[in-house]
Each structure stands twice: as structure tokens, then as C-alpha cells.
Symmetry: C2
Subunit: 177 residues, 2 copies
Amino acid sequence: MTTLEAIKNRTSYRGIFEDTAVPREDLRKIMEAGLAAPSGCNTQTTSLIAVDEPQLLRRLNEVTELETPATATAMICVLAQKLIAYRDRSFYVQDYSAAIQNMLLAIVELGYQSCWYEGQITDEDKIGRKMADILGVPEEYELVCFLPVGIAAESLNYAVKMPFEQRAWFNGFGAKS
Amino acid sequence: MTTLEAIKNRTSYRGIFEDTAVPREDLRKIMEAGLAAPSGCNTQTTSLIAVDEPQLLRRLNEVTELETPATATAMICVLAQKLIAYRDRSFYVQDYSAAIQNMLLAIVELGYQSCWYEGQITDEDKIGRKMADILGVPEEYELVCFLPVGIAAESLNYAVKMPFEQRAWFNGFGAKS
């Protein structure tokens, strides 16, 4: 699969997963893809924890209370540190977002599906912190997102997007190409 | 090139570019890759402008005052709208970061190089707004980043990153795999 194909094929999969283990080797490749993303001033603010132990997955899924991602046999948790890149500026949100996007593409390339779960665990109920506590994550890291990883058992749906011409132009805003 | 190869090969290229035009077709493919990125609640907060007119490029590069990206024959400007995904939450930074990462990978796949220029144009001097004015971008859009696009004329350098074991683990923070 070329990069452009993986980019086109990727979608937010919210269905049920097959009960098939994801090999450690693949989880490592996915995490390596995440860590290969750029970070502002190379501060490398993103860290990752892959979870494939069934009991640990069960505890995390009890906390998230989300049904379909709980059927995945693996999960990658994304940790962020709000480190300063220069002066008072941190690019940690950009950093972890680029890392997540790399991982989503690697997941597709390796034959799996996933979805970016962030808002669900970073609202006032602080589910991300509960997950972090289960995983022994220190307070200076924020658990900002998790990605279920597994083989899709249901069909894929693609988000309907605005036409290219409404979001992209050449040589000027709203210009005709 | 597979996705994993593109992810590994991508680097922040800050050298001089060859004086070779980037075909419109390639710029369109790169922008399509950007727009294919996910966005929080599918709000599609990211828009793009590709610039390849030499005079327009010159005006933009006068504003950025950056030497090496100014040698690129094309540039993609990233526009962000801080739209609400749900309640009071906007994921626009995540949205444009995922779009940028997709574009950086597409750029590598198509044989070009680039670099994520964000802090340079979003500091107090508001260079991004000056660029936006040149491109006729309405006030409700923020020009948050630009990506030069071109063929590298110099060798690539790769950022030195922390070892995998210091940033990624299985089944617990800092755990040995």
C-alpha cells in the first residue's frame, strides 16, 4: 500500500473488532511510526503505551465505558508532556496529533482499523487520568488519546467531506484553479 | 514507497531547494492527502492554499524572512478555523496537525521535501496574518503553518531521537517488554 492509498483508505472505525490477537511486532511498528513524527524543536513530548494484556484491557475499558473499542484485542495509549519548545511556547498538541496520525496510517497499512478517541477521555470526568493511574503514568504526563487496534469485524464507513473546491485553492483564498 | 517507509524517510528539510517547478497535479494530491485527515466530529476545520505563482511566492517569502524555504518553487499554506466540535471544545489544532502530517508524508512519497513552519509565523509578530492578507484570507481563518514544497538540493539530516525504550512501553508506564 502506498502512502497516498493508506491516507485515502484510513477511516474512523467505530465497529466491533475480531477476536484476533495483534502481534507485539505489529504494535511495535505502529508505535515506532508514532515516535517518528516531528515535534516542535524536537522536544519529543509524546510517549506511548501499548496494551495487549486481556485483564489490563478489561480494566481500561471499564473506565472508558465505550462498547465497540472494548472489543479490540489491543490499544495504544498516547501520553503527552506539555514541554516548552522555546520561550513560553509548547507544541505538544501538534506533536501528539502528528504522532497519532502516523499511527493511524501505520495501523491501516498493517491491515488493522482504529479510531482517534480523545474527547471521550479528556472531558471534565477525566477518564484519561483514571486510565493513566491504572497504567502507572506519572502526574506530569497527560493521557490524551487512545487508539484501539484490531481487525475490523464490520464494514467500514467513510465520513462525508466537503468538496475539495470548498477547502483548497491555488494562489489565493477561494480562487478558482 | 510503503507508508512505513515514508514515515521513516520523512524529515524536516531546512536546506535549499532545486529550481524545478512542482506540477499542479502533485500539489493537488498533497492537498487531497491533507483534507483526508480526520477532524474532531468531522468539523473539517482545516483549509489549504497552494502557492506556485513566482511573484506571489516572492511576496510571501519577503514577509516570512526565511532564506532556505524561500528557494522552494511551491508552498502550501494551512488555514485553521477554531470551530466547536461539541459543547465548548474545538479540536482545530489536532485537526490541522493531522492534515499537515498527511501532507508531509505525501510530499515525501512524491519525491519532494518540506518542513513544518509554524512557530516562525504564529508568534507575536503575526507573520501568518500578513501572509493571510496577501492571500485574501478572511479574518475568521488563522494561517497557522506553511510547508515549502520542492526537490531538495542538499543532503537530508535526521533529528536525533530518544531511544524507543524511553518513550514507548507495553502494558504499563516504563515497563520492560
